[in-house]
Symmetry: C2
Subunit: 418 residues, 2 copies
């Protein structure tokens, strides 16, 4: 590539530094940082935008705030005129797992792939300008590779190098089988970068091995090597595990304002700043300001989290929704009161019913055993009184307020009551 | 497959046992022996011949007696009406080594592949009835495999299993790189058996891993599994290393009768019986007879080897050539005399020349350093006198006999000599 940055004018050099500072903010690692500057310099000199790649799993289209770490980074590139390449990894999705061992990786139909891609598209549009995004399906090139091409691809890498990937080395050491075809997944993902001539690839730190493969393969195919930006993983509501749907510790970008706000308020205080940094669109200055006020004690941790909740609800809904979500939260939790606008249900069953049956029949709990557990955990209230007896027989009056957990309310109307 | 042999008539059962006894004679291993009998039984019941596979490396078409171990086994199948499948592994030959690291595995052109196949064909015809042989090029199916097929193929095998192959495990342990594409060679060779639905595959014991792969892959693709016959490796002239062209310890099937006979006479006595067993067409009874007479002392080891030499020359030339080769050998080595019919060259150079230059100019040695080494080893004689001095200046008379090693003679005529 040569030293592009040496050819920049003074203004261009300032612009390069400005962009670089934005891109490096909050990331775990840029590999290598020097080349990131060179890429920006090349773009400034040639007028050609950078191609910034993100690979997507076609089987899991539920987008949550954990994903927005990388989406926000993509947005920064987009705001500076660069091209976003979103790649739906449909080739592997359509193959499924040939050993049939993994139920998690079942074979997707063409329709499912298209549907999931559409879901990504809609959810990503909450962060990115999708008009300016290029969408690819990697089956377009991978399905055409013949054995000769595959052998050429495999010749680029040693078995020892593949075994360096943590999960592979651990499985080999513990005698758990690694099927040979699994070695292809990082190679195929990397080959996408060869095909699309990506300049930059983003990924979570758990994707370290896979995204570096793109860089490696581009070199093997005599292409300019991509720069790799590793982004930190966002812990979920439990504050420990990576946010993920399967761990049920996530906040979906599609969730309603109150739910979103409430979930934000449930994260551990230590995570507040990390959430501000990684998943809000506040400026660097605003983020620093919050950090300093928190440290000095000017800002109470609870108030910082309320601010975080409002910012995030505003990002995925609007300012008014953010206000309402906050007020709702304050009403329910801070004043201990029952909110005004709770849903009502008209009861048409018998006047007396065991509390467990009542909860299940109203759909507030999915099974009797769940309802029993919820009562035992003190999670059920009738007219603000905690239910202590799992065998309680409830005599239904004309009106009764049921509360499940902290945030779910239902007003039960029984017009036929005496 | 069920137990085919249970359905055989008494005569068929006898025929099955007869064939089995021929096929198992002299082999290292049949995997599994039980299925070999079942295969024969199936063939007898259905009237369909067995398909007996041998894979060939397209880059090394020089056939020597080491190869005839497996060819003689194939011939036994052919004599019982079964079909021989010869597979030229041209697919890998055309790809070469994608890493470019191995000069041994350079890329072959279509013409070279065709030429080498033709050479195999001609040389194999000395043992097999080539009219009844089916010849395949594995590029016919391998070049059509797409990535999806390759992934399916790779899903059949674990990395741990591949690393069990001796050379792979040793290289991984010692930190020598194994390129991922090398894992494909056994898979491709095995896939040939899937495509051709082979019943039996033959291979030397050094091919153990590769030929078993065919059996493994047929099972993965729900085909009837082939039986694998492992044949012992034939030591070369040195009596230690496997016979091979690169070790220069081989006897080519194309060599002239005297050379062939002389080379046979140079093998260590301990190998004589193994050569009889593995590479001659004598019957089991004749072989046993020789073994017993050797053991009892009735047959002198030197005479046994002479007999071996005659049998082998007769196989690749004819009875008369075998007689002449034996007489030549007796004349030269047993009587220490110079044979009658040695080639003559008329000298037109200067009358005096250093012995080293003389050897090189006559083409008897390929370089001065080789010529020097040959003299130092006592391998050069002039008129039966050993040359002791590497700097000897030879004054050429009208006639002079040069001897190189034990078996190479040249009569040099210098008509202009005084």
């Amino acid at each position: 590539m040569g030293n592009m940055s040496d050819s920049l004018s003074k203004d261009q050099r300032a612009e390069m530094e400005r962009q670089y500072n934005i891109y490096q903010d909050g990331v775990s690692e840029i590999i290598p940082a020097f080349e990131m500057k060179e890429k920006i310099a090349k773009s400034l000199l040639t007028g050609r935008p950078l191609k910034v790649k993100l690979g997507l799993d076609p089987s899991a289209p539920d987008v949550h705030l954990g994903h927005t770490v990388v989406l926000n980074k993509l947005k920064q590139f987009q705001e500076n005129g660069h091209i976003i390449q979103l790649i739906i990894g449909d080739f592997t999705g359509k193959i499924g797992d040939p050993t049939g061992k993994s139920t998690a990786r079942k074979q997707l139909t063409n329709e499912e792939v298209k549907h999931n891609a559409q879901t990504y598209y809609e959810q990503f549009s909450k962060v990115l300008d999708m008009e300016k995004v290029e969408l690819f399906y990697n089956s377009a090139w991978l399905s055409k590779l013949r054995l000769e091409d595959t052998i050429n691809l495999s010749a680029s890498i040693t078995v020892a190098r593949l075994l360096e990937r943590n999960d592979f080395s651990e499985r080999l050491a513990s005698g758990k089988p690694i099927s040979l075809h699994e070695f292809f997944y990082p190679l195929m993902q990397g080959y996408d970068s060869v095909e699309l001539e990506s300049d930059v690839e983003l990924g979570g730190t758990d994707q370290h091995f896979n995204v570096l493969m793109g860089r490696h393969l581009q070199e093997h195919y005599n292409k300019e090597k991509q720069v790799v930006i590793m982004l930190p993983l966002l812990e979920g509501l439990d504050g420990v595990e990576k946010m993920s749907k399967s761990k049920n510790n996530y906040i979906g970008v599609d969730e309603d304002p109150r739910e979103m706000f409430g979930k934000i308020m449930s994260i551990p205080d230590e995570l507040t700043l990390k959430y501000f940094n990684l998943i809000t669109d506040l400026s660097h200055i605003e983020k620093n300001d919050i950090a300093m006020r928190l440290e000095s004690g000017d800002l109470h941790p609870r108030d910082a989290k309320m601010l975080l909740g409002k910012v995030i609800v505003r990002m995925y809904h609007d300012e008014a929704a953010a206000q309402l979500a906050e007020e709702h939260f304050k009403t329910v939790f801070q004043r201990g009161a029952i909110p005004q606008d709770i849903p009502e249900v008209i009861w048409e069953g018998s006047h007396s019913i065991h509390v467990i049956d009542l909860l299940v029949q109203l759909g507030l709990q999915s099974s009797k055993s769940e309802a029993r557990r919820m009562i035992q955990n003190g999670g059920i209230r009738i007219n603000s009184e905690k239910v202590m007896d799992v065998d309680l027989l409830v005599h239904l009056p004309k009106e009764l307020i049921l509360q499940v957990g902290k945030r779910k309310f239902l007003k039960l109307l029984n017009p036929k009551a005496n």
